[in-house]
């Protein structure tokens, strides 16, 4: 083997491996006879080849042969059938394309249908939409003004107190019920989502229309039930609230007025309590209830009345009022407070007065969760 670059190194290599043409090989062989260096180089290559040829060819393993041949056979069959039937190729290309076109058509048509539905929304769908939005938005602390407006419009008899509660209490159960109660047609669901929040005018009209409808329903109901308090605590022996509160709905001032009235009576009751005149407090609270106050405010007043009655020793009546809270506002902090008060009264001495501030101040955390 040469260590330097001999001009004929590549040719020597080709000679050793038999890659030279016959003519070139003959000429080189002649050269080798007269050149010991080139002869030695070729000889070295041949010796290495000879030695390395001791490595025999190793038979390839048979494993996998069958599966390989089967695979090749399958490919060959496919090749034959593929060549014979060009429509297969067309089908393979066209089918996905047709699918895509169909999908695009559905999307476009669907979008147009939604658009048309939005432009021609049914009153029922809009009503349901408004109701749903309001039930979500009815966070008293954030939407106080609107909440009050709705409360004014929705103020109704005892049977509809629950409905009003849905709007005002903001508890999850009532939120879940509200849309169900309205049961909008399925086609109206999509437009509902696109609530025209930047278009307050039609929505305002809708709220008014909705409120009027509710008022009519409430009036009809009052005619049957015979009064707010009568319905709510009608079962109370002796009609604790029946006398003073039961007349309230019919004598109720215009909806926009009772808010102030309740506030005044509530303040008067608080003053009477501070002065130690629980009797007077109870009277003021009854008057507040007689205005037809609804929602959380009603719950607070009922709780305060309960507390005042217990303080007066009118335990049966107090218990009835607390029961009314539990019944009207189930699973609410007000109901919890009412139950707690009843329990404390039952375990304490009858004449003992229990935490006067508790009724109007439910647990702080719960109060926050309400608001």
């Amino acid at each position: 083997m040469t260590s330097g670059i001999h001009p004929q190194d590549e040719k020597l290599l080709e000679l050793a491996y038999g890659e030279l043409s016959v003519g070139d090989a003959s000429r080189l062989e002649l050269h080798l006879k007269g050149c010991s260096r080139c002869a030695e180089a070729v000889s070295a290559i041949r010796r290495v080849r000879q030695t390395m040829s001791q490595l025999p060819a190793i038979q390839a393993p048979e494993r996998g042969m069958d599966s390989l041949l089967a695979y090749a056979g399958q490919a060959a069959r496919r090749a034959r059938s593929g060549a014979a039937s060009t429509p297969t190729w067309w089908r393979r290309t066209l089918l996905p394309a047709a699918g895509l076109i169909a999908l695009a058509t559905v999307v476009v048509v669907g979008a147009r249908v939604i658009k048309v539905a939005k432009e021609h929304r049914t009153p029922m769908a809009l009503l349901a939409q408004t109701s749903r939005e309001e039930s979500i938005e009815a966070k008293p602390s954030l939407k106080r003004g609107r909440s009050d407006q709705i409360r004014d419009l929705y103020a109704a008899g005892p049977s509809s107190a629950g409905e009003a509660n849905h709007d005002l209490a903001g508890d999850h159960a009532s939120r879940a019920e509200a849309p169900k109660a309205m049961s909008p047609p399925p086609s109206a669901v999509a437009p509902q989502r696109k609530a025209p929040s930047d278009d307050p005018e039609p929505r305002h009209r809708l709220v008014q229309r909705q409120a009027k409808r509710k008022e009519r329903a409430a009036e009809e109901e009052r005619g049957v039930a015979g009064g707010v308090a009568g319905g709510v605590v009608g079962g109370v022996p002796g009609g604790v609230l029946g006398g003073s509160v039961g007349q309230a709905p019919s004598a109720r001032p215009a909806s926009s007025g009772w808010n102030n009235e309740v506030a005044e009576q509530s303040t008067a009751a608080a003053k009477a309590k501070d002065a130690g005149d629980r009797r007077r407090e109870a009277v003021e609270l009854r008057r507040a209830l007689a205005t037809g106050v609804q929602g959380q405010e009603r719950a607070r007043i009922l709780n305060r009345l309960c507390d005042a009655l217990y303080a007066l020793g009118e335990r049966a009546e107090a218990a009835s009022v607390c029961d009314a809270v539990v019944r009207e506002f189930p699973n609410s902090p007000h109901a919890t407070a009412a139950l707690r008060r009843k329990a404390l009264e039952n375990t304490a001495a009858p004449a003992e007065k229990i935490q006067p501030s508790a009724p109007s101040q439910p647990a702080k955390g719960k109060q926050q969760s309400e608001n």
């Binding site: 083997m1 260590s3 190194d9 590549e10 290599l13 080709e14 491996y17 890659e19 000889s43 070295a44 290559i45 041949r46 010796r47 290495v48 080849r49 000879q50 030695t51 390395m52 040829s53 001791q54 490595l55 025999p56 060819a57 190793i58 038979q59 390839a60 393993p61 494993r63 996998g64 042969m65 390989l68 041949l69 695979y71 090749a72 056979g73 490919a75 060959a76 069959r77 090749a79 034959r80 060549a83």
Partner: protein
């Protein structure tokens, strides 16, 4: 299709592409062992070589439509095999280390299971030529594995697979002169290694060769 087992590789490949499964079978039988030896000596790992062999032929089936008749079938075939070997070597970073400790020699019966050192230690005067050959082979494998990969692949393709230098250039993607240059370096490297192992060309001369 009338299949002539004497057909050229290129014709057989075209026949297979046209849907003649038997053509593939002929090609497989013709080239399976040379390709396996190339892969085995390229990787130095029998189990991996077996997998790569299978993979090579699967690719031949899958890519049958890519084959251009103007190129030699063996060039195409060894290009596939070589690319798979290179990919495998990249994935197996510890391949060199493993192969040094792995049994050498493809034939499990001769010298397999022993390291190079063990084989060298045992390589004393052999009473029997066959036994001497059995001990020699692992050393030759070791000498081959000691070459740099780029020289080894050229040597294997030319020496054991019978691929011409021009074809090797196409398979490896380097100029033919580079291939020949690598071949010269490979031969020089083997000569030195064989001399270090006490195996020189004289062993291959005439009746004194271990090859007999």
């Amino acid at each position: 299709v009338e299949l002539d087992t004497e057909s050229s590789d290129e014709q057989l490949m075209l026949d297979f592409r046209a849907g003649e499964a038997r053509a593939f079978e002929v090609l497989l039988h013709r080239h399976r062992t040379p390709v396996f030896n190339f892969i085995l000596r390229f990787t130095g790992h029998p189990a991996r070589a077996e997998d790569l062999l299978q993979e090579t032929w699967l690719k031949v089936v899958r890519r049958a439509n890519d084959y251009q008749p103007k190129a030699r079938f063996t060039t195409w075939l060894y290009t596939i095999a070589r690319n798979l070997c290179v990919d495998s070597a990249r994935k197996e970073k510890y391949r060199e280390t493993e192969s040094l400790e792995a049994p050498i020699g493809g034939d499990e019966a001769d010298g397999a299971g022993r390291s190079l050192g063990e084989v060298v230690a045992d390589l004393g005067p052999a009473p029997d030529r066959a036994a001497h050959n059995a001990r020699l082979r692992p050393l030759l494998e070791r000498a081959l594995q000691s070459l740099p990969a780029e020289q080894r692949e050229v040597f294997i393709l030319r020496e054991y697979s019978g691929v011409a230098f021009k074809e090797i250039a196409a398979v490896t993607g380097v100029p033919e002169n580079t291939v020949k240059s690598r071949m010269r370096y490979a031969l020089e490297g083997l000569r030195r290694t064989l001399a270090e192992l006490g195996i020189d060309g004289d062993l291959a001369d005439g009746g004194r060769t271990v090859a007999g």
